[in-house]
Symmetry: C2
Subunit: 330 residues, 2 copies
């Protein structure tokens, strides 16, 4: 309770401690999440994803700097970064270079950076990330950047968590890279071609624009026919921009920061802000339900019974479906 | 039942039909999975993963051709390919080039190719892929190649499904790409640097070997201390090779096919074959348990009650954890 109050009062050491509790899913962490939840819903959640090597971390650092510039009113926003690492606890050190770059920012008291390990802790990554973001939201950060590596299910989950999702590309990966863009275009609100001083940037921008046009045409046709409707409808009225940046020199960063603010304004005026908020909370609820149901069931079944079923599976005496039926219908 | 017999008798049309039933999780599909399960456990399951643009699909095509070469005994193995696409149903067409290439193989009656969409169907992708692989295993395919795009959780799930996992890289993606390798090294049994005629191949091979050395040194230290023990222990005795291929010309393919066979022999002689089989079945069981528990719970709760809880969440009257508690303790 004390910790929660300290977090609400803006104390950073308390915040770091509480985040560890939340990440480890301790009873104190859970209690704090309940206490803090009424204070959430204010922050603009920005997902930043894309393949490795696109310079995402540098881009995030530059964006943080841009957002920290005092606004016309003289006000300065508070910015948090959550870096989600799908890499191993063993070799996470490979990301050190990025982290050092990020740490340059941490002399600024209006910036808070948190790295998350993706494995080994309780609960799914998506749920733990959502919980960490909630704490930061309640702690009063105006902008929360959620950075993920890769292009798999975790990115889709993170996108569901964010109000605005940036997908970062880099030039010159060849035509075949387009195959991977298909999935990612569905989650992008803003496409960024970083390293725009490299050869091939025009080709990449052209290819992305062509895919966007194609995807939007097909989405139009499928409207109200598929389960992707909701996601697609959200995009109506927002034309996904393709922006060029050079994170190392800062070129294109002010324009990108402006586009992110524009997207927030668009979400708020169109009502999509609320809709995404609800979708996010529903996903979170379902993930939590699922893991809670499994852990409750686990506590109810004897270890011997489970072991025996596994053995019968291994000898092909029963199938996985039959095993589930047997285990759930005692 | 008739369909199942036809599949066991090697009829391809029946196989394709049954796979559709299984992918759609129909009662007929579920019954067939139960009937076929005792016939599984024979095939060598080979996962092929890596970032987009590495030429995975061409590599898979070439590997299929190599495996289809008659062996010394005059016997020819039957090969199946399961292509798992984390891309959208809308834009899946972007993969057409790859699929066309694969279809060149499909004139060969000893080859069967199946593409899976990753979204929109019931159940998780990992479970549905496992089910499709089971059917192909029972249908008598000696080798089943499971191809996935990307580098996220789905790859880890696929790796858990396979006996042997190939991670495909390509040269010249820069130093920063190494960050992503960390996670992927944990799942690799064989590393392949494809497009080995491109500049930078030596640097990439060197970097991968350095990371392997580092990862193995750390793994040694952590042995018996972490939850990754099982995975790490499996690697003891198998030195992960870094192989060069040029899929477009076929260079390095015979050597890669030989390394895959060697890995199978290693697994069989070390007992890891059985161990991986059991781990795989346990993962599958747990995924099934989780989704069954959720769907049973869903059927038991009223729509109004669920809706009301969602609304209270949206207004921040209750937290996600409180919502779960309320929904599960009626």
């Amino acid at each position: 309770m004390e910790l929660t109050d300290a977090v609400l009062a803006g104390q950073r050491l308390a915040l770091a401690r509480l985040l560890t509790q939340v990440e480890n899913d301790t009873p104190q962490g859970r209690a704090a999440l309940n206490d803090l939840f009424p204070h959430t819903g204010q922050a603009h959640l920005i997902g930043v994803t894309g393949a490795p090597g696109t310079g995402k971390s540098s881009l995030v650092s530059q964006l943080v700097r841009a957002f920290r510039q005092p606004q016309e009113s003289g006000e300065q926003v508070q910015v948090a970064v959550v870096a989600v690492d799908p890499t191993s606890p063993f070799t996470g050190g490979a990301l050190l270079g990025d982290r050092v770059r990020m740490r340059e920012l941490s002399g600024d008291p209006g910036v808070f950076i948190r790295s998350m390990a993706s494995r080994g802790a309780l609960g799914g990554l998506a749920w733990r990330t959502a919980a960490v973001v909630q704490v930061l939201d309640a702690a009063g950060f105006d902008l929360i950047l959620i950075e993920t590596v890769g292009a798999g299910q975790s990115e889709v989950d993170i996108a569901r968590l964010a109000h605005s999702t940036l997908v970062v590309e880099s030039p010159g990966a060849g035509d075949d890279i387009q195959a991977s863009k298909a999935g990612i275009l569905e989650i992008a609100d803003i496409l960024v071609v970083n390293k725009a001083d490299r050869p091939g940037v025009d080709t990449t921008v052209r290819a992305l624009k062509a895919m966007l046009g194609q995807a939007q045409a097909i989405a139009g046709k499928h409207l109200l026919k598929t389960s992707h409707d909701e996601a697609q409808q959200e995009h109506i009225g927002w034309e996904i921009p393709v922006m060029r940046t050079i994170a190392t020199s800062g070129e294109g960063i002010p324009e990108l920061a402006a586009a992110i603010r524009e997207h927030r304004d668009y979400l708020q005026s169109s009502g999509d802000w609320q809709q995404r908020d609800q979708t996010r909370l529903q996903s979170e609820l379902e993930a939590l339900l699922q893991s809670t149901l499994l852990s409750r069931w686990r506590a109810s079944v004897s270890r011997e019974r489970y072991q025996q079923t596994l053995e019968e599976l291994a000898t092909r005496s029963i199938s996985p479906l039959q095993a589930v039926e047997r285990l759930l219908n005692n």
